[in-house]
Amino acid sequence: MKTVLLIDFGSTYTKLTAVDIDRECILGTAAAYTTIETDINDGLEAGLKILQSKIGTLDFNECYACSSAAGGLRMITSGLVPDLTGEAARLASLGAGAKVIKVYSFELTEDDVEEIRRIKPDIFLLVGGTDGGNTECILHNAEVLANMKPDFPIVLAGNRSAAKKCQEILSGYEVYVCPNVMPKFGELNIEPAQKQIREIFLNRIIQAKGLSRASELLSDIMMPTPSAVLQAVELLSGGCEDESGIGELVAVDVGGATTDIYSIADGMPEHMNTVYKGLPEPYAKRTVEGDIGMRYSIQGIVDSAGIDRICELSGLSEDVATALIQDLKLNPDKVPENDKEMENLDFALASCAVEEAVTRHAGTISESYTLLGKVLVQEGKNLTNVKNIVVTGGSLIHSQRIYHITENALYSLSNPSSLRPKIVDVWADKTYILAAMGLLSSYYPKTALKIMKKELEYHGHSK
């Protein structure tokens, strides 16, 4: 029997998944508190003990891990125009699994330097200008960064005409040069920069974050958890060799502090009379809503949905709902268990979180009247034809009403300009294995795909 252990060092829990490669199945899963402040191995060992109590002692042949512990991969990006290279840099970082703390546009200022010092990013992504285009901005920003004597690695992925000069300006610091994230106007090329970001994470960040102590157990590969999830859903969508995928999909991960949305879909306009505006978006796109989360970011949900809507969905009075929300702010570790009121509140919170985050992720369509008649203008991805939604994250997979929460991700007549999926099958990652399968897919893609197709639980079809 060939066995592989997959570890996800999360911010709160260290999650373990044991896989039997030959039989293509999950042997067992376990979770324990992450112990990043002391020794990461303590939490890992506690988890291993739980796992052993379930499936017996095993000698694992291979072991891989991903991590979002110690704040995850914290990045700052700077580009030129906010909607263009600024956005390209943001998309590149998010797709690499980073937490984007700050996005700067145009020239960096003295105040920005102060802020960068305060934030202490793990990696800085410096871009600006299309190839052969503007060089002043990126050169200026390289100069500003060099003057602040950066102790963080810098990934340079801007105008190639300025790359050499930027490198000179930043000589003596840790700089990695990549192809431009926007080589031509409106054309994204974010994969090389993402690859570089992941490599730096692997070589440098892991040590800095005290994860290397766990590394003697690991065979290879370490990636940010969101990057592993993205890899998993890409495989689940596209398939591998003769094993087919489930097709275009949207994945939703509502966490305590943030909500991540992934879409693996083309998303270009359906009809000839639709004009597309703005940057073309990546086929595999990830967005993170830092203000939408079930516990630490609970206020963001209340702000965006309104307390009335939360009361309506939960059936609670405003006084009760407000009191419960206050309580959860102070005690973010609380879970509903058998508390009916809290369960209803969580249902309402999750529904609103899903609705808001998917709406922000999806594109929009609007009508415009011209002398030649009506024209439709699309911005962002059109997800109306996506046929699958995969939900993951503790707050969703433990809910009794997964389907009804997920319904809020769908196209709605009350907001017809939002291009969200119309008719879908809902799948739940009940065993919480997506990140683990993303890791596994680096080595055993077909096995990872088969396990996902087996383990994801079907939760209904929307009408």
């Binding site: 299309t130 190839d131 052969g132 503007n134 409106g186 004009v275 009247y369 002398l371």
Partner: protein, 143 residues
């Protein structure tokens, strides 16, 4: 550097105008004439020309308008360019830029007053615009 020495143009059809054919022909003609072309297509807002020009380090902006509303759509564009740091960038406009039959000299005067360097009447051949671009960008002979 692949576009060394080449001058970069940002072009597109302004406003709520969806005339796509002439836009493609012009793109072809400009590229053939040796320009690096950033074509924004149809229904382009002033801000989009400006953002594209900043990012691509453009040498000139060529605005087309075919549906008669060009005068409204182009208003304030020079001021926005100034604001965005594109001071003095050549602005050219052409097509059916106003409604009805008007003396083109008057139309041209109005567009020049709005800060456009050149305005072209309906039926202008691409060569004429290319010639004007060469003059404005001080390009000698074949680009």
């Amino acid at each position: 550097m692949e576009n060394q020495g080449k001058k970069t143009l940002v072009m597109g059809v302004i406003g709520a105008d969806v005339h796509a054919v002439g836009n493609k022909i012009l793109q072809h003609a400009f590229t053939e004439a040796g320009f690096e072309v950033v074509n924004l297509g149809v229904m382009v807002a002033q801000e989009e020309y400006i953002s594209a020009a900043i990012e691509s380090g453009a040498d000139a902006i060529v605005v087309s308008s075919l549906y008669g509303q060009g005068e409204l759509d182009c208003r304030g564009m020079r001021e926005k360019c100034d604001e965005a740091g594109l001071k003095g960038i050549p602005l050219l406009v052409g097509g059916n830029i106003v409604i009805g039959k008007q003396k083109f000299e008057d139309v041209e005067r109005r567009f020049k007053a709005m800060g456009f360097d050149r305005a072209f009447p309906p039926g202008t051949a691409p060569e004429t615009t290319i010639e004007a671009l060469r003059e404005l960008l001080h390009i000698d002979g074949e680009n």
